[in-house]
Subunit: 244 residues, 2 copies
DNA sequence: TGACATATTATACGGACGTCCAGATAGTTT
DNA sequence: AAACTATCTGGACGTCCGTATAATATGTCA
């Protein structure tokens, strides 16, 4: 399959399934024995895609990683592109909800909205998940870093993450009403790129500093301050996005 | 070929070949008729890899793009991994030389070294090449964005780009001698990630701002000010990279 | 001119790929 | 028990993959 087959096909399959159930789920009073298998497949796909990227992973590798046969992956995951989108969408709610909750906290708290608060509310949840002990969240963080950093995948990402990003841009606009929307969008995108580097470029930081790689959480304060400081500099100087 | 085959193999093939010659080159007094063909192959590979990434490109696609037969790609490019590394290394000197020249200018100019000058000297050359009319440089910029943003490729990138990056970190340390090396490395990596976003995430910026995509050069001032402001904020507050 | 190195063609090989499907299995319902 | 549905197995399909190679062409040198 060429990468062309990933070009913005239809809609995303049900991405709200994030219910961890011990006992097999029932739908219409029917026992769904395959739920556990389905999770095994999606977990394995998450690890594979996060480690090697869409194109470098074969369905047979996913099957081997999950400990199931080839047909099972197709049965639960559909086509390779479907599987990818399902994995991508599976955890999106958790991240979006946490970001929204942090932003709501900021609004309800005493004091007014600050740029630093907005930046931290957007960046910290990803860092926290990426640094948690959960290897599946680590794999998902790597997958997000791989996917979001590439415009080829933007069509898949926009429906999942852009609505929340728009809310944060709106919050930024509250603090800086004079700023153009495009400038705010660029600043948030720069921040996201730096954020993803914390996962995707850990080895390079370690190599440049000649030290051992660290968990993403080690860079939290540095990153938040970098992005906040960068945004405030741009906005205070009224620098605008403009064709050269 | 799985991505595993790209794991830091041997050394890079001669990456200093950047001599644009009109007349066929001579080696040992012998005419090298294949020089033009070799360039066609490398140019085509550059476009393919820049557009779709290593794993999604087949040697047959490169051959078709170059207008040559399959065997020619192997003859001039060697294995797929060799071809990739050759393409990566081909233009590295131009970028490194320009960055070094800008830094040298800064040092020799009146006034002392500033963080903004250092940042601009590192970021601007890439933006300029990426925004030039040359489609091959655009393809190379996309390839770099794809490659540098992924730690899986770090082993290929470090020999090519890290020596110059170290020089810039050293320059940053001149301005801020109190800063830890790891903090400086992280700050430069954040800046590089933001820089690459200007090429790799143009569609997302445009989507978030609901406007048409722009050339990378449109973001030059915003990006440089963002990175400079972010660095100065972190360094002035003595924020350090630390395990959580 | 013949010997020779370079360059290119056409083709073949073994293997991995994504997808599909007939059939076996097992739990649920009637 | 029989019918039914969800789940899973094993294997096949045609296609494309990266690589290698024998044969041929092209231009250089002795």
């Amino acid at each position: 399959m060429s990468s062309k087959d990933r070009d913005c096909p239809a809609a995303l399959p049900g991405g709200t399934a994030d219910a961890p159930e011990e006992t097999p789920a029932r739908v219409d009073g029917r026992l769904l024995r395959g739920e556990a298998t389905r999770d095994k497949v999606l977990d394995a796909a998450e690890r594979c895609f996060g480690r090697d990227g869409f194109d470098a992973v074969s369905i047979r590798q996913v099957a081997a990683e999950a400990g199931v046969t080839l047909g099972v992956v197709g049965f639960h995951g559909g086509s390779k592109a479907d599987l990818f989108r399902t994995v991508l969408a599976r955890r999106v709610n958790a991240l979006n909800l946490l970001r929204r909750a942090r932003l709501t906290e900021l609004r309800s708290a005493r004091g007014r909205l600050t740029l630093r608060g907005i930046v931290a509310a957007y960046l910290a949840p990803y860092i926290d998940y990426a640094s948690s002990g959960d290897p599946q969240w680590q794999a998902y963080a790597a997958l997000i870093a791989r996917t979001t950093a590439d415009d080829r995948n933007y069509c898949h990402v926009r429906d999942l993450y852009d609505p929340v990003a728009q809310e944060f841009i709106a919050a930024m606009a509250e603090v800086h009403p004079e700023a153009e929307r495009e400038t705010l969008a660029a600043l948030l995108t720069f921040s996201v790129a730096s954020l993803l580097a914390v996962v995707a470029s850990r080895a390079r930081i370690a190599g440049l500093a000649d030290c051992a790689p660290r968990l993403p959480s080690a860079y939290r304060d540095t990153l938040i301050e970098f992005c906040t400081g960068g945004m405030e500099r741009v906005l205070s100087q009224s620098i605008r996005v403009r064709p050269a």
